[in-house]
Amino acid sequence: MPRFPTRYLLLSSILILFAGCAYHRYAHPHTSQPLVITNDVISPLIPQDGKSVKYKASIDVLNKHFSGIILLKQMDSVKHFVFITELGMKMFDFEMKNNRFTPVYVFEPLNNPKLIGALTHDFETLLLLDLYGKSGEYNTCLNGRDFLRIKEGDLVSIVEREGTVAEKRTSFVKKRKDTQTTYTSSDKGPYEHIALKQYGLVKIYIDLTKLNDE
């Protein structure tokens, strides 16, 4: 057997082992209590008072780098999510209505179903939008932080919080790590910085820094 495949197999096994370990860290809580995820359980990232919030955004996907400004706003029950380049060109505009995240506008050169699918999935994850209204568990640990566990089919999401503000979300698909998002708050407010890493074949990095109005 050539040397390269042996090394590759060994490396893959180690990675799978680590991925498995990450999942098993959350598998045996000390206590577990059912709950439904609401805004009182996890503070939402999109303001509920009709005001908008803007983030400086950096997105790396499929060997492409995009930067610009992301605007999040809820109008009535519809959540809007718009990405604009520094030059003012709109790259995409998504909306979430009745728990469905749909593209309203996508700049033609970006209009690739694989790319749009990956981006909508990751932004839904990053904004925690797929969790609200779902049943989950509040778990306590003897050694480690308390966490929320939300399971839907093969997808398991673990959310660690400070109060009701999310600090870290790790999503697993079939026990393998799918995405990890970290949320950083400051004295200016919650969710000042957000970073998402998508694992697997389509690797995506999203980095958001809140733009505070001066």
Binding site: S58, S67, E86, M89, E214
Partner: protein, 207 residues
């Protein structure tokens, strides 16, 4: 101070929202624009960019400094809401943010090439010569306005029209307005303009 600022903004809006009527002698106006284009070697200016998202009733405002040098050198330096630099030097583009500097070949990126062509021809006032637009000419007491309606299929997918405003002496472009099909618009207003001041070639690169 805020009152004066609000008054100034109101005056600016009123200034650009005057009643426009069609220009009768378009040949004379075209000659003035061509003459402006020929005599303009460099432009330095501050700019305010405003993105209006009509459906969301939201505005995103950016400010910075702009430099142009004939024939194909552009520098857009954004200072707010954060520092960001775009430099165009003939067929090369540099983009610098707080994390990295990227260099692109203009010919490898159709989108950049299209934006650059519009920007350059708008700044130089030669855009009305382009076969990508149908042009209509208007004037008010203070301004000339060129309405550029895209003919190109790809451009039509994004833009409904592009408006260019010139002062009545036609010394330079005062404002550029790009209206999208869904009525979102990006406006660029130039202020503190210096025409034909010496500008070093060295600023049209980023490292």
């Amino acid at each position: 101070m805020k009152k004066y600022l609000a008054l100034f903004l109101l005056m600016s809006i009123v200034g650009f929202s005057q009643t426009f009527k069609q220009v009768k002698d378009t040949t004379a106006l075209k000659q003035k624009i061509e003459s402006m284009s020929k005599s303009t070697v460099t432009i330095e200016s501050d700019f305010t960019q405003e993105k209006n998202l009509s459906a969301l009733t939201e505005k995103i405002t950016s400010k910075g400094h702009f430099t142009f040098k004939k024939d194909n050198l552009l520098r857009w330096e954004y200072n707010t809401p954060y520092k960001y630099l775009i430099v165009i030097n003939k067929d090369k583009i540099w983009i610098k943010d707080d994390k990295k500097t990227s260099k692109y070949d203009m010919n490898s990126n159709k989108v950049f090439k299209e934006i650059n062509d519009i920007m350059l021809s708008a700044v130089q006032g030669t855009v009305f010569k382009s076969n990508k637009f149908k042009t209509a000419y208007f004037e008010s007491e203070k301004f000339y306005k060129l309405e550029l309606w895209p003919l190109d299929k790809n451009m039509k997918q994004t833009f409904k029209k592009i408006n260019l405003f010139f002062d009545k002496s036609v010394t330079s472009v005062m404002k550029m307005e790009m209206v999208e099909n869904n009525d979102d618009a990006t406006t660029l207003e130039f202020s503190n303009k210096k025409l034909n001041a010496p500008v070093s070639d060295a600023i049209f690169t980023a490292k």
